[in-house]
Symmetry: none
Subunit: 135 residues, 2 copies
């Protein structure tokens, strides 16, 4: 996790500050395994957090792509099957995730349920796969 000053970085790369936003938007997305926060005003900053240790970035990225912007319960279940079989996710956590997906999307009408399911699955896997020991 690092914090940068947009202005400073822009100076280092000899580009305009908004260029930094472009790079962040295209190269440091959740899709790529990064999350970005920022604050304006004096003393502002941009904080970039890598969701995955380098080795699992590829895995996470593939998972995110597989999930997409929406996912139905059946596909989510199969994805979890695969992850558990591959040993990426343990059985206990797998059960937690499945349970949470079911509970949190219960009673939500299509097509919204699939969008929310995708979000939930994505963030849960991100936290689960994030290796805390290096944080």
């Amino acid at each position: 996790m690092i914090e940068i000053r947009r202005r400073e970085v822009a100076q280092q790369f000899e580009c305009v500050p908004s260029q930094i936003n472009y790079v962040l938007e295209t190269r440091f997305t959740p899709h790529h395994g990064y999350y970005v926060e920022s604050r304006r005003g004096g003393g502002g900053y941009i904080r970039i957090t890598r969701a995955m240790v380098r080795r699992s970035v590829g895995t996470f990225r593939e998972i995110v792509e597989e999930i997409g912007s929406r996912i139905d319960g059946e596909r989510a279940g199969r994805l979890m099957d695969q992850l558990e079989e591959a040993g990426v996710i343990g059985g206990t956590r797998g059960a937690l995730i499945r349970g949470a997906l079911r509970q949190e999307t219960a009673g939500i009408d299509p097509p919204l349920d699939e969008v929310i399911r995708a979000k939930l699955l994505r963030v849960m896997l991100m936290i689960a796969l994030h290796d805390q020991r290096r944080g």
Copy 2:
């Protein structure tokens, strides 16, 4: 509970006294769990009292209750502040969760955004706290 002298603190931070008011107004509000009194005149002071006993780590159940069925970005941020301060969640994970909350709720109109934010926060904390317990 502490008492400060506005002038002195301003000198320590090498800023103008009114700056102290700004910080108190933005960071030590009842919302943040603080209560501020002051007295003018000779021998005046500013007394800052932590109104809420720092939530003692809080079980997951209490956290879930705190979140409720919907939560706005500000309250979510303060809850994360508390969890980080209490050492329940580390800085990197905290940043990840904050980033994920922001990204995944971006562009979702009220009042749905708050409902989704609650779901996301709930499941991420669930995974994070569960993971932590196992060391």
